[in-house]
Amino acid sequence: MRRVAPGTVRARTKRGAAAIAIAVASAFLGAAQAGSASSSFRVIVNTDKSTGPVTPPNTGLCRRIDLPGAMGAIVTVVCSTGVVVEIGPGEASKPWGWIHGGAYRFLPPISSAGVNSASMDIDTGLGTVTSWRVVHLSDRDYLEMTVRW
């Protein structure tokens, strides 16, 4: 029969308990190592609404090109879809002159004296006014607009 030295069983028991304690402590140590650090800073802004009208961006779906010239100039709009929109002088026989891409020029035949300068039918229609301007000429004023529907 193998002889066991006195105290051996107790020593093994102590070592086992110590190993368990170390394992448990290690587990807790691992959890304790997860931490965080923080650094604060200030976010600052000034707001200003006193600036005048803001020019719309000349980017996006369409690009506007204003060619040089006075009255009668052609405005070309190139869209990303490839559609080219040109706004030019209207045709005399068509007050709502058809231009590429659905832009129209409305030329009411009214003189500056407020008298019809000619007998002409004026087409009407519903749409969205995308831009307009009043043109003052020597003999007449007229409203020019582009619409889309």
């Binding site: 200030r42 976010v43 600052i44 802004v45 707001t47 803001v54």
Partner: protein, 161 residues
């Protein structure tokens, strides 16, 4: 004769201590467990400044950039970063003067520290995050006067390790 004997004994007594000088050693282990850490090391006020935002402006508004520094255990790197949820979201979105903004923390830049020696204690790794922001265009903002500001609030970058 007795004198000669006494002198001889005295000489042996003197020589004996020299013959007994020797060394012995007893080794022991030196052990330590190191818990890695990072701590913020910025001093003074750092400010992400969006400058002046004009209502409905057509372009997004960028901000200045600030460097937020952390001193970390050498070789140890934070695993993630997030912003506070007190004045915005963890992703960095916030609202200031009625203007929405988004903060971005860049990838960390690390300058390695120096190892400890018997003469010096060494230094930690310097981990730096550059934080900047952007405000989307075309925002109205909130301001009862022609201009307001500067308006500010405090945000916090939290690094987790």
């Amino acid at each position: 004769m007795k004198k000669i004997l006494a002198s001889t004994v005295a000489a042996i007594a003197i020589l004996a201590p020299a013959a007994n000088a020797a060394t012995t050693s007893n080794s022991f282990n030196v052990s330590v467990s190191l818990t890695s850490q990072c701590s913020a090391s910025n001093s003074g006020t750092t400010t992400v400044d969006f400058g002046t935002y004009t209502a409905f402006q057509i372009a997004a508004q960028g901000s200045t950039s600030v460097n937020l520094n952390f001193n970390c255990t050498r070789g140890f790197a934070p695993t993630s970063v997030a912003f506070d949820v007190v004045n915005g979201t963890a992703a960095g979105v916030g609202v200031l003067a009625g203007l929405q903004y988004t903060l971005t923390a860049g990838a960390p830049s690390t300058v390695g520290g120096t190892a400890a020696t018997t003469a010096t204690i060494g230094t930690g790794d310097a981990v730096t995050y550059a934080v900047s922001g952007s405000m989307p265009a075309a925002q109205a903002g909130t301001c009862a006067a022609a201009s307001c500001g500067p308006t500010s609030h405090v945000r916090t970058l939290i690094v987790t390790f």
